[in-house]
């Protein structure tokens, strides 16, 4: 059913789409960054699309691949009962996408989380702070090159005196 969403995007924004797939039945559109806001507005406002609900925004780190990062949007339409996944691929040197907070209010914390975890900047986000980690934390923990046990304690670990 929701193939028509992919077709509608292809139809309306032929230059915006890098590729599409429907692995496991999840319709996916990879977009060029410049068109993201425009496509999102269309998906929300068009009565045939009606994607009023943002389900998830997250980053993915494909370490070793170029472009290295992806920002993934999962959208849902309550009235049309359809879903679509949008993706924007980003290079490490230019890790920035336009924030879609002007389209959906609910993406606020998701974008903050993606910034916190992957270091993706969301241009236009009014309050892009870390959300899960603390302000003193250095780096972005969900990047694949961040160590599994990369503890950064705020208090030094207590040590026993070695000499009496």
């Amino acid at each position: 059913m929701s193939h028509k969403v992919v077709e509608a995007i292809l139809d309306r924004f032929p230059d915006a789409v890098v590729s599409t797939h429907a692995l496991h039945g999840d319709d996916t559109v990879v977009l060029r960054r410049e068109y993201l806001l425009e496509v999102c507005r269309f998906l929300k406002d068009d009565p045939e699309m009606d994607f009023k609900m943002p389900i998830d925004v997250c980053g993915v780190d494909y370490l070793g691949r170029t472009p290295r990062f992806e920002v993934v949007y999962h959208l849902f339409s309550v009235t049309k009962r359809q879903r679509v996944r949008l993706k924007v691929q980003l290079d490490e040197s230019d890790l920035e996408v336009p924030s879609v907070i002007s389209v959906w209010k609910g993406v606020d914390w998701f974008e903050r989380e993606a910034w916190d975890m992957y270091g993706v900047r969301f241009a236009g986000h009014p309050d892009l702070r870390r959300i899960l980690m603390y302000e003193e934390f250095e780096g972005h923990p969900l990047r694949k090159d961040y160590p599994q046990r990369g503890y950064q304690p705020l208090m030094p670990m207590p040590t026993l005196p070695t000499e009496v």
Partner: protein, 368 residues
């Protein structure tokens, strides 16, 4: 955050008060900090700091096999762990393109609904407790305990259930499950009636709940609310009816919706959903037939111990599954189920080996 005088109150010299609530506060269930701006008793603005309970579920999952993640999913919401277990298993099964036997799906539905009951009982009980209603809280906890006792007999644990596996569940229902369920059901039904009588038409409760925490249907959708919080606004989105998984299309149940999107409607929705869960479980028990509870594929599910100890093939399959885990083909998949508080979604990216990237879309970041 604003801290300005309101014009009409100028002569009172009143101003907003800023209070840091938490991260450890007796009235809060969990470690979270809220920086509140208050106008008398009304909250004008709030800045929520949610990171204190961040455990790095996604980071830990990077080095786990798919089955090793299941105990982490328990902890995403400790009062409805089974919904999270089932969601994870269904997501990986979707990526693998496999389907467990019928009996397994019915069992998963039963445990999901029991989990939902315990979640709603907790919400109702704790909500009443915050308003000083200690008795309904005790009734709710007693009802929850009845449910948890049955869950314990099925899974071996009350909270950290880890009951599902990719391709099945750990064990079939115990033999006396039918009797145990009937007993628990009667207790829960009796206690819900008591809670209902004590709260629903209670003037004090009503005044504190009705018209408080109101959100419009439009805003709720825009913020990505799901579950009872969304349904209280009148939007009937429920994963179980919109995209039926397991056998939710074979059972009859109602999806209660509210009208006003306030705390009172959320309470009513939750209360009714407990009754609907009981209906669903009764129908599952009627419909389900004896049979296997795991798929018959040793590359996904552990072989029976008899085969492991006595045959070389069983031994190798066991070893490979423990050491390397299930092999999910490279690609991405999003799986979602109706959890206790809304849509629980898992977005999993596999590189084809045992390791992967996972992002989880829990209802509580969107709709608490």
């Amino acid at each position: 955050m604003t801290s300005t005088l309101r014009k009409e109150d100028d002569h009172l010299h009143s101003e907003y008060m800023q209070i840091a609530m938490g991260p450890s506060h007796p009235a809060m269930h969990g470690t979270v900090q809220m920086l509140l701006t208050l106008d008398g008793e009304t909250v004008v603005d709030v800045d929520v700091r949610i990171g204190y309970l961040h455990r790095g579920f996604e980071k830990m999952s990077e080095v786990c096999t798919y089955n090793q993640v299941i105990p982490y999913t328990d902890r995403l919401n400790y009062v409805s762990p089974l919904c999270n277990n089932v969601g994870w298993a269904l997501t990986i099964e979707k990526a693998l393109g496999i389907k467990p036997p019928e009996r397994c799906d019915y069992i998963r539905m039963i445990v999901c609904e029991m989990s939902r009951m315990s979640d709603h009982l907790t919400s109702i009980g704790a909500g009443s407790l915050e308003l000083g209603g200690f008795t309904p809280f005790l009734y709710a906890v007693q009802a929850r305990e009845e449910v948890w006792e049955v869950i314990e007999e099925v899974t071996g644990a009350r909270l950290t259930t880890s009951y599902t596996r990719v391709g099945g569940v750990t064990a079939d229902l115990p033999e006396n499950f039918g009797e145990r369920w009937v007993h628990a059901k009667h207790e829960v039904e009796r206690l819900i009636v008591d809670i209902d009588k004590l709260l629903t038409r209670n003037r004090i409760f009503y005044d504190r709940m009705a018209g408080v925490g109101v959100i419009s249907a439009e805003d709720a959708v825009d913020y990505g609310f799901t579950g009872p919080a969304l349904r209280s606004t009148g939007v009937d989105y429920d994963v179980r009816t919109y995209a039926p998984y397991l056998f939710y299309d074979r059972v009859e149940f109602d999806v209660p919706v509210g009208k006003h999107g306030d705390n009172y409607d959320r309470y009513l929705v939750r209360l009714e959903e407990i009754r609907q869960s009981i209906r669903i479980i009764d129908q599952c028990l009627e419909q389900m037939q004896p049979g296997p509870v795991r798929i018959d594929d040793w590359s996904v599910i552990l072989p029976p111990k008899d085969a492991v100890y006595n045959t070389i093939e069983g031994m190798i399959a066991h070893f490979k599954l423990i050491m390397e885990g299930v092999k999910v083909p490279a690609g991405e998949v999003y799986g979602y189920v109706e959890g206790g508080n809304g849509e629980v979604g898992y977005y999993v990216v596999s590189d084809g080996s045992g390791s992967f990237n996972v992002s989880d879309a829990p209802p509580s970041t969107r709709s608490t």
